[in-house]
Structure formats: structure tokens, C-alpha cells
């Protein structure tokens, strides 16, 4: 078991890769064997992530050097800097790993039923496993160029999956927009990596953090990285691709693309906190992140009011909720240089923002899966054409209502706990921001009330008289997510102490991050 824990960082990334290449071969022989392979590999990845998480919370950061004679041999003899690709898993990385593994497992089980009548399913599951490998690789790596490579892997697989159902007219456009934006953002990241290598001759994040000085070129690199990751995570003003891509993709893939955007948010935080740390001008950069968050919240909530397509509505809500996370962690970044403000409300703001990340992934995932059931049974995404579907689809309507209430911050669901933590701490930083946050939350509630009443309640339209309930596998994946939502809502203190607080501390503690690679 100890050997499994030592090797688990690379096993978590390599097993989806191995399963992806095997799926293409096994899919030709038998369909059932391929489905079993996909689900078994994702369950194994989830098991390894949970085992590794328990070990990290007990024992600290895990290091894995690929190709050395021992996993922790980062600097061999006669070398003065770390060599080889080094995977570095701290509490924040494993937190994002838990999100990615859980949502991917739910999405894969959902896809077994949703994509049953499509052709070319072998390629679908191959791309899905490659997307999982790309996402997990991005969070576990401690090397900047490796981050770029896994970012591109996730982007290409995500675009291929978003454009998968080629019989519809809008899917190719959604996938194309996603690919153009991701490609441009990744090239800007590569330019910044080039700037870092030209100055310091290093690619490892921990080694760079030790020697970085805030020269003019470093400021240019920081600006480029912030722009690139803001493009990828769908914050205003670079959010144009989000509604089109999230609406066109199959429902389970939208949930995974959402987690992929959150992982790009994690990459933004990793550069601001662990790579630059206190050497950068935290007040300025923190306020830039806060302003990005405020714009996203406002534009997301107000544009969601005007939508008639249910998935576009939920996509604008996604933009709004990621604005909350940017606001909370931006407050933490702005007070990074002031120790007393940090302990009073900075760490609480960051814990709230990080807790909101997992809540966001869960309830938005549940909403997208429920909207996918509507599309699968009723054949339309337009709210004007739907009506009275709750009579036949009772469980789906309850789950949609659960997701909607969690998103608006109504107790006892998980959105309330994280939003309360964010409001309390942001109010101590600047009261106006917290008040705008509360107003936006009320607008979100209004939007979802409109959506729920328009789709589910009212008279049963004659063409929907005999729609059936969702298939069993889709029900299973939605129920998994909803159980976790209710559990997080009833015991938020447990989750904040066990998951969110260590992650916030791991981001702030740059010295420990550097020492794990360079000091030992």
C-alpha cells in the first residue's frame, strides 16, 4: 500500500492515458468490455485520489521525479538545480484532483446512457479519458512547460468532444470557438514560459520561485499569464466562447469542460501565489483579479435573465459563479503582504473561494446533467417550447430544483455555506463588494425561478404527454452529485476544516512549496 501511495501521482495521470489507448482497440471487439474498462479505470483513479488525499493531509507535500532512481531525488549529485519533470502534489492540487475525478466519474456514467445511439463511440470514450488525463496532469505538475502541454491536451480533447455530435448545426461552431480561444491562450502561456527560461534557465515552478526577482520582463510575463488564464476560464471581458460552447456540447461534456475551466483558474492562482508570492505588487494584482470577478458576476447574472435556451442560461450562471471565486481569492491575494489582515479575513476569504470551487463544480454539473435529460427526452433546449414536464419527470425536476437552490445560496445546500463565508470575509475588506455579491445572488435566484417554472410547472403540453423519466444510469450519476451537495450543505464546517482550509494554507505557504523540491 505504501508503494501505491508513493507512485500514485503518476498512476493517477497514466492510467487514464493507458485506458484511452486500450479503449480504441477493445472497442472494436466488444462494446460492453469498453464501457466496463472506462468505468473501472475512472473508479480506480477516484480511489487513488482519495488515498493520496488522506496521505497528503497527514504527511505534507508529495514529490515525484519522473525517471530518477528514487521519487524524491530532485537534485542529483553534481547538479545545482532540479532536473527532470517533477510532479508536486500539495493540498490545493489534490483538492482540484478530487473535483476532477468525481465529476469525471459522474459524467462518464451519464455518457454511457446519453450517447448510446451515437456512432463512433470508441473515439468519444478515448477523448473523454484523454481529457481526464489532461486535467489531472495540469493540477499535479510542478513544471511550467508540463502545465502548457497538459493544458493543450485538455483543450484539444475538450474541443473534439464539444463538437462530437455532428448532426446538429451549432456543435461544430461551439467546438471551433473553444479551440481558437484555447489555442491562442496556450500560445501566450508558451511565450511567458520562454521569457522565464531566457532569464533564469529554469522551468520548475518551485525552483523559479526561489530565484525570481520582479524585473520588467517578469511583469510582462505575469501580465501575459493573467490574460491567458483569464481567457481560458471564461471571465468577462473574454467570455464570448462560454455560452456557445457550453450549450453545444453534450451535457456530460459540459460538466467536464466546466471543471477544466476551474483548473485553469487553479493555474492562475498557482502562478500568483506559489510562483510569484510576495515579490509581486499584491495590492495591484489582487485588485485586478477582484475587478475581473466583479465584472464576471455582474455580466453573468444580468445576461442570464435574457436567455431562452436553458443551457445558455446555466452557462451564464457559470460565469457569474466563477466571478465569486475570483472575488474571494482576489481579496486573499490583495492582503497577502499584510499578516494581520491575512489572518483576520484573508485566509477565510480564500477558504470560502476554494470551497465555492467544489460547490460550483457540483451544482453546475448537476444542473447541466438535468438539462441534458430534458434535451434527451423532450428533444429541445428552448424554454419557450417546454412546459409541464414535472408531471412525468418527477425526480429530474426535484434534482434541477436542488441544483438551482444550491446555486442561489439557499440554506441548507452547499452554496449557502460557501457564499456566507465569502460575504463575511469580503465585507471586512470592502463593504461595497459584499453588497454587490448579495444583489447578484438575488438576481440568480430570480433567473432560476423563471427557468424552473417555465420548464417544469404549468400545463402539460400535448406533445410531451408521454415523455418518460430519465434512464437509470443518468439518474445514478445525478443522484451521486446531489448526495454530495446535500452532505456538503449539512456539514460545511467539516468540509472547510478538512479540505478548503488546508488548500488555502498551501497556496499561501510559498516557502513550504519551495522547500519540498529544493530544500530536501
Amino acid at each position: 500500500m505504501d508503494k501505491l501511495i508513493t507512485h500514485s501521482p503518476i498512476l493517477i495521470i497514466a492510467i487514464p492515458l493507458l485506458a484511452a489507448f486500450l479503449t480504441l482497440l477493445i472497442g472494436r471487439i466488444s462494446e460492453k468490455a469498453r464501457n466496463v474498462l472506462v468505468v473501472v479505470s475512472l473508479v480506480f483513479v477516484e480511489f487513488l485520489v482519495i488515498v493520496l488525499a488522506r496521505d497528503i493531509y497527514a504527511n505534507g507535500i508529495h514529490i515525484y521525479t519522473l525517471g530518477a532512481s528514487s521519487p524524491t531525488l530532485t537534485i542529483p549529485e553534481q547538479y545545482m538545480v532540479p532536473v527532470r519533470i517533477i510532479l508536486q502534489v500539495d493540498a490545493m492540487s489534490i483538492f482540484m484532483g478530487i473535483i476532477a475525478a468525481t465529476v469525471s466519474l459522474a459524467a462518464a456514467i451519464y455518457s454511457l446512457s446519453f450517447m448510446k445511439e451515437e456512432t463512433g463511440q470508441d473515439s468519444f470514450y478515448t477523448l473523454l479519458l484523454l481529457l481526464v488525463a489532461g486535467m489531472l496532469g495540469m493540477v499535479f505538475t510542478g513544471d511550467l512547460f508540463n502545465l502548457f502541454v497538459f493544458l493543450e491536451i485538455a483543450a484539444i480533447s475538450g474541443a473534439g468532444l464539444a463538437a462530437f455530435r455532428i448532426r446538429f448545426a451549432d456543435t461544430a461552431e461551439g467546438g471551433f470557438k473553444y479551440l481558437v480561444i484555447s489555442s491562442a491562450a496556450a500560445l501566450v502561456v508558451l511565450f511567458s514560459v520562454g521569457i522565464f527560461y531566457a532569464q533564469y534557465n529554469l522551468l520548475n515552478i518551485a525552483a523559479l520561485a526561489q530565484v525570481i526577482q520582479y524585473t520588467m520582463l517578469d511583469k510582462v510575463a505575469l501580465a501575459l499569464l493573467v490574460i491567458a488564464f483569464a481567457m481560458k476560464l471564461g471571465s468577462v471581458p473574454l467570455h464570448m466562447w462560454v455560452p456557445d460552447t457550453y450549450a453545444a456540447a453534450p451535457a456530460s461534456i459540459t460538466a467536464m469542460l466546466l471543471v477544466s475551466s476551474q483548473i485553469c483558474m487553479y493555474a492562475l492562482f498557482r502562478t500568483c501565489f506559489s510562483l510569484y508570492g510576495v515579490t509581486l505588487n499584491t495590492a495591484t494584482v489582487g485588485w485586478i483579479v477582484i475587478i475581473l470577478g466583479m465584472l464576471s458576476m455582474f455580466v453573468g447574472a444580468t445576461m442570464a435573465v435574457l436567455q431562452t435556451d436553458v443551457k445558455r442560461l446555466i452557462a451564464y450562471n457559470c460565469i457569474c459563479e466563477s466571478g465569486y471565486i475570483l472575488l474571494a481569492v482576489g481579496v486573499g491575494l490583495a492582503v497577502l503582504g499584510h499578516p494581520e489582515a491575512l489572518t483576520t479575513y484573508g485566509i477565510a476569504a480564500m477558504s470560502g473561494g476554494i470551497f465555492h470551487m467544489i460547490n460550483h463544480a457540483l451544482f453546475e454539473g448537476l444542473l447541466f446533467l438535468a438539462a441534458g435529460v430534458l434535451f434527451y427526452r423532450a428533444g429541445t433546449r428552448n424554454l419557450n417550447e417546454m412546459g409541464g414536464l414535472a408531471h412525468n419527470m418527477k425526480l429530474t425536476s426535484i434534482l434541477f430544483l436542488l441544483g438551482a437552490l444550491a446555486s442561489s445560496g439557499i440554506p441548507p445546500f452547499n452554496g449557502f455555506a460557501s457564499k456566507l463565508l465569502i460575504y463575511e470575509s469580503v465585507y471586512q475588506f470592502n463593504p461595497i463588494l459584499a453588497i454587490i455579491g448579495i444583489i447578484v445572488s438575488i438576481i440568480t435566484l430570480a433567473v432560476f425561478v423563471k427557468a424552473f417554472f417555465s420548464a417544469f410547472t404549468g400545463q402539460v403540453l400535448p406533445k410531451y404527454k408521454d415523455v418518460r423519466e430519465a434512464p437509470k444510469l443518468m439518474m445514478l450519476s445525478m443522484i451521486i452529485l446531489s448526495i454530495i451537495i446535500v452532505f456538503f450543505g449539512l456539514f460545511p464546517g467539516l468540509i472547510v476544516d478538512w479540505l478548503a482550509h488546508p488548500a488555502a494554507n498551501a497556496l499561501i505557504n510559498q516557502a513550504e512549496y519551495i522547500n519540498a523540491v529544493v530544500g530536501g
Binding site: A172, E173, F176, V180, L187, Y197, A198
Partner: protein, 118 residues
């Protein structure tokens, strides 16, 4: 061969390529031209990576039958190679999606082929 040009010229070429590429991406409506703009951006960034590794009087970093000891940096060349591979895969996928958009909407103009508004 490198005595004649001042050493700044490749970096100016990088700036020109990236500037032209961003102008194309932001202003052109034809989807094929947009993809070409992305390709020029990739060329600019790859040229930047190769140029930053140059050392005065160095040869290619290959030990097999190497003429002298002073070599240029090999790591940026590995980064450039990976970036070229990724750019090719992205280009193939983008062109396939353009073929699909043309089949559905009959035009490759980005304004006329929009199906989702608002």
C-alpha cells in the same frame, strides 16, 4: 554568417510576426484566414523560443561528430518541437471543424455562419 546582422533582428521578426498574427485574428472574418492567423502566431512564438537559446559562436547541440565544444541551448529546441507537434494537431482539428461548419451553413464567413446568437 552571424557577423553581419545585429543580434536583435530575430527578436524584431518575432514582434512583427506576433503583431501581424493578432491583427489577423481580431480583424478577419473568413474562418480560414483566422486559422492562418493562429498559425502565424504559433510560428512567431516558436521563433522566439529558438532565438532565445542562441549563444555567440555556438553550433547545433549535437554531440555526434561535433566540431567544437560551444553549443547553443538545447532545451528551447525541445520546447519548440513539442509546440510544433501540438500546433499541427490543433490545425488539423480546426480545419476539420471548418469543413463541418461549411457543410451545415454553406459559408465560411464568421458572421454568416453563426447559428447561436445572444
Amino acid at each position: 554568417m552571424t557577423q553581419g546582422i545585429p543580434f536583435n533582428v530575430p527578436f524584431l521578426a518575432v514582434a512583427a510576426l506576433i503583431g501581424i498574427a493578432f491583427y489577423i485574428i481580431l480583424s478577419q472574418r473568413n474562418l480560414i484566414k483566422l486559422v492562418m492567423g493562429l498559425s502565424i502566431l504559433a510560428s512567431g512564438v516558436n521563433l522566439f523560443l529558438v532565438t532565445l537559446g542562441y549563444r555567440e559562436g555556438g553550433v547545433a547541440p549535437i554531440y555526434t561528430h561535433a566540431p567544437i565544444e560551444r553549443m547553443v541551448l538545447p532545451v528551447p529546441q525541445a520546447l519548440t518541437l513539442t509546440s510544433i507537434v501540438i500546433a499541427v494537431a490543433t490545425l488539423a482539428l480546426m480545419l476539420s471543424l471548418i469543413i463541418r461548419i461549411y457543410r451545415h451553413t454553406g459559408s465560411i464567413d464568421s458572421e454568416e455562419s453563426r447559428t447561436m446568437k445572444g
